[in-house]
């Protein structure tokens, strides 16, 4: 799951794979702004077959928070 999330960040934000890290946070880099956040959310929904609640979407403000949330949705962190 981690690798899939990394792929989403690389594709949607144009990040280098090595720049993907748990402590990466929303708005800490120019690439992750409110518009690209929505693109990330849509890619996550598509990839993992989820429909995320708006409270979840606005709380997913770091890679760690996204991983934790996906885990609570029953998606195994690998």
């Amino acid at each position: 799951m981690r690798a899939a999330l990394q792929e989403i960040f690389v594709t949607e934000l144009g990040l280098k794979p090595e720049d993907f890290a748990d402590d990466l946070t929303y708005n800490a880099i120019p690439e992750w702004d409110s518009a690209s956040h929505m693109a990330i959310i849509m890619a996550i929904e598509e990839k993992f077959g989820l429909s995320l609640e708006s409270d979840d979407i606005v709380a997913m403000t770091s890679v760690r928070k996204i991983l934790n949330l996906l885990e609570t949705k029953g998606i195994a962190v690998g």
Partner: protein, 513 residues
């Protein structure tokens, strides 16, 4: 009430004194009073007076932090123009902005200190730096009558950089008188009471932030500064703090709608909602009217060159939705301003380019005679007393029923998420980034209301992989203007005029994806 026609520095001093005990700013849970904020700005203004000459610009390399707001106020008190330098911009663009404006002092915050040091290494020698910090124990009795803060020395209030067509940003110098004229006009159209809790959504490098800051402080309101994470849920932020005055681009509301944040009566305290920066779709205004049932809703329009906004149209809650046009009209010009639709000869016409004149028309672009000559004209227009006009490049219809109605652009300027961009600038960067002579930038995706959310690049015979081209663009352009995807194609389609046909590119390669 203090007259807003006073010199802006004098007006601000009197205003801060009048509201001295009220909260001026809320930041991350901490509130600072007008007196406390003034005291910190006066301290920084003293440093500015001691280390720079009259009229020398102050770069504000800070965002959504206390030093940013202290810096802006201190610059105006000391009679120096302020120049916002967005930390989200690439380093090269920051260097361009600070050098073109010739900033002589940079105001930094914790997040930007390192970047400030890097800039100081590159900028011409002798540029100073300074900061401010949130006071543990604010000084509640500053000297509001310090004779040094007369504002003398510069007629420019701020220099705001916008996208330029050639690849370098261009700086618009807005005079102190322009700002006074705006504050006078907006107080008539959309007044707020002392104590009003107001949003501060806009980045300082977007001139709509000037409204946030100075309309709030001119009125005794409290500026609620959204933190970075709050930007994902501005409606939630407004709800938590029971905010009463809202200002954003319509795209912010469109996103809130996608996040299902526009619930009926979600913002019962809201009294005034202003939208600007891009066309306001009637469907967005309708939804907002439900979300904020007690709020007036106004659509503002105006380019940076004409100081924040220069026309307004009030949304009519009682009108049947089928009686409204699909987008809210631009409305009527402010007092002391004029907006006239002209034909290609500069004569008033029902459909044509919108020209703006009056007290809010700025000095124009700094060190850019060519653009000034192209965009600012001295001309008598029948029926108007003003003889200097800003040519907006907006195609507008003068409609008996709806007033001024935006019909599109006459050039390659566009809005992405409300930010103004020149597609020609993106294409110039794309050509350099991909080592090709043929490149095109196409707005995509476009929301259901017609607002552009991003841009896609097309290149022919590019040298380099998509990821490298995007990374290269990122080094030169603000994030909202960086192409999200690069599509390599054989040849760019041309229209009948021999220009790149962006519509054909959109239809052929993007529609349906």
């Amino acid at each position: 009430m203090i007259s807003r026609n006073l010199e802006i520095g004098e007006f601000l001093r009197l205003s801060f004194e009048q509201f001295r005990d009220l909260p001026a700013i809320w930041l991350g849970g901490q509130t600072v009073s007008y007196a406390g904020l003034y005291a910190d700005a006066a301290t920084l203004a003293s440093t500015i007076l001691e280390t720079t000459k009259p009229g020398e610009p102050i770069g504000v390399l800070a965002q959504r932090s206390y030093p940013a707001y202290v810096g802006v106020l201190a610059a105006l008190l000391s009679g120096r123009p302020y120049v916002p330098i967005n930390m989200k911009f690439p380093f090269e663009r920051q260097v361009d902005i600070a050098s073109i404006a010739r900033c002589r002092l940079l105001v930094w915050d914790e997040q930007s200190k390192r970047r400030c040091d890097e800039l100081l290494q590159i900028l011409e020698p002798g540029v100073r730096e300074s900061t401010a910090s949130l006071p543990d124990r604010p000084n509640n009795s500053p000297d509001f009558h310090d004779g040094r803060f007369t504002g003398a020395g510069s007629n420019v209030a701020y220099i705001m950089f916008t996208s330029g067509t050639t690849g370098a940003p261009k700086g618009v110098a807005v005079r102190r008188e322009n700002l006074s004229a705006y504050l006078t006009a907006i107080a008539e159209i959309a007044p707020i009471e002392p104590g009003t809790r107001c949003t501060q959504n806009f980045d300082l490098s977007f001139d709509l932030s000037v409204h946030d800051i100075f309309q709030t402080w001119a009125s005794g309101g409290c500026l609620y500064v959204m933190g970075n994470e709050d930007a994902l849920d501005p409606v939630g932020f407004a709800k938590r703090h029971a905010l009463q005055a809202w200002f954003s681009v319509p795209s912010v509301v469109a996103m809130a709608r996608r996040l299902r944040r526009l619930q009926p009566d979600a913002l019962p305290d809201m009294r005034l909602s202003l939208f600007c920066g891009e066309p306001l779709p009637a469907s967005i205004a309708d939804d907002w009217a439900q979300t904020a049932p007690s709020s007036r809703i106004l659509n503002l329009y105006g380019p940076t060159e004409a100081t924040i906004a220069i026309t307004a149209e009030e949304y009519d809650r009682s009108a049947a939705s089928d009686a409204r046009p699909a987008t809210i009209p631009l409305g009527k010009p402010f007092r002391n301003s004029a907006a006239v639709v002209v034909d290609s000869e500069g004569r008033p016409a029902p459909l044509g380019e919108l020209w703006l004149g009056g007290a809010q028309i700025s000095n124009g672009y700094i060190n850019n005679d060519k653009e000034n000559q192209a965009k600012f004209v001295n001309r008598r227009v029948p029926g108007y007393t003003f003889d200097r006009w800003y040519r907006t490049g907006d195609l507008v219809q003068q409609d008996d029923r709806h007033g001024l109605v935006f019909q599109g652009r006459m050039d390659d300027q566009a809005k992405i998420q409300g930010y103004r961009v020149e597609l020609l600038e993106i294409e110039e960067v794309l050509r350099r980034a991909s080592g090709t002579t043929e490149a095109a930038a196409v707005l995509w995706p476009v929301s259901e209301t017609g607002a552009a959310e991003g841009v896609v690049g097309f290149v022919c015979a590019a040298a380099g992989a998509e990821r490298d081209i995007i990374a290269n663009c990122r080094a030169h352009l603000p994030s909202y203007a960086v192409p999200r995807k690069i599509m390599a194609i054989e040849a760019l389609p041309l229209n009948a005029n021999g220009k790149v046909d962006r519509n054909a590119l959109r239809k052929t390669y993007l529609a349906g994806k």
